[in-house]
Symmetry: C2
Subunit: 251 residues, 2 copies
Amino acid sequence: MTRPSVVTAAMLAIGDELLSGRTKDKNIGHLADMLTMVGIDLREVRIVADDEEAIVEAVNALRGRYDHVFTSGGIGPTHDDITADAMSKAFGVACVHDPKAMHLLGAMYERRGMEFTEARKRMARMPVGADHIANPVSTAPGFRMGNVYVMAGVPQVFQAMLDGLLPSLETGTPVLSRTVRSPFGEGDIGTPLTEVQKHHPETNIGSYPKFDGKTFSTDIVIRGRDEAELAAAEADVIAMIEAISRSRQGG
Amino acid sequence: MTRPSVVTAAMLAIGDELLSGRTKDKNIGHLADMLTMVGIDLREVRIVADDEEAIVEAVNALRGRYDHVFTSGGIGPTHDDITADAMSKAFGVACVHDPKAMHLLGAMYERRGMEFTEARKRMARMPVGADHIANPVSTAPGFRMGNVYVMAGVPQVFQAMLDGLLPSLETGTPVLSRTVRSPFGEGDIGTPLTEVQKHHPETNIGSYPKFDGKTFSTDIVIRGRDEAELAAAEADVIAMIEAISRSRQGG
């Protein structure tokens, strides 16, 4: 087999409302699903407030460490939307009204007979040198600066931007997964499962307890980039559960 | 009025499954709600994988910066539960089978006629010097080490641990909030809202767009620790919306 390629990513979700509990984030889980599907490893997520210093520090930490950084939130027209300014500061460039975005937004508001207010013009601001990320839902574009993809916080818009963006990105060998349901709790399978993991070091075996209010069962998830290795590990996990079942019935 | 006291916190959610999309986190939003209620400011959240180095680095960064750090995940009985080891490393102490936890778990499994397996004994491991965080759901305790509170990832257990823990923590003056619904999008209210914010610097006015598939409306949320300042800002926001309504009807 060819050596699998690994492409890494982080997400930075921006917004006071995520930290106050007012808004329950929906973008992290969606991004995680999409990246897994295309073969990009999401390694870290941070949530920070609408605070310039916090955004700058987080984006600079993440963009140096991962291949891609995806951000959500803070690119609307109001005073608390400061993501464009923070990104400009992080990259050490000016934040300007992008001419192409001004044109795009100006034309849209004219078509709709709406005033292109100062507030709406804020949505055309981005760091000098940024490329647009198309917004098929509500026009105002996101932007790419280096390896950082700046997108909206409203889930419908975030998802539409991501759909357009993903096909253009460098991706790796997708991680495949198999799930085996165990009727036994983690305490029963923990020791033998450790042995299975040791025998299949190329796979990553995770164990996720489920609690129905009375008893625990477990989902065992085997992840890896090679189909044959995955199948071999899965067979051993199934054999392990059957052995526990037999010993229970026998005892 | 007396000066409001501010107590800060961060959360560290631990688990490969949160980053692969397999599990959609429920603990961050719950913690955010609970902390807001008791008067602790959640300032930052990080999600990292079941990776010792990543956990150690994140918890050390967060515990030095915030008054409290809450973690979720990685304290079960299987090989991928490495939070106790990582916390011990972060604090530079040994990770041991805590005698009190061994006793608690041993008695519980004996009562239930279940074997106290090596895997289950893993759940008694914690850094030397840690205090227990009670687990009324499934016995295996979380633990406190310094200003770090290590709790389970299963939401029912996380919530029960937090309920028991919160009354013992130092809290600050709770942040109060008022929400004003605006039928206008952010582009219409952005400029006047900036003025309202400037007149009420002791409050934090956030603006959250809602999209129904066709048009945007806005929830305007005013937050602050003083009731009178909050009421004054709210009155100005309502007056602002009424002024926009009048100008629309007049025009």
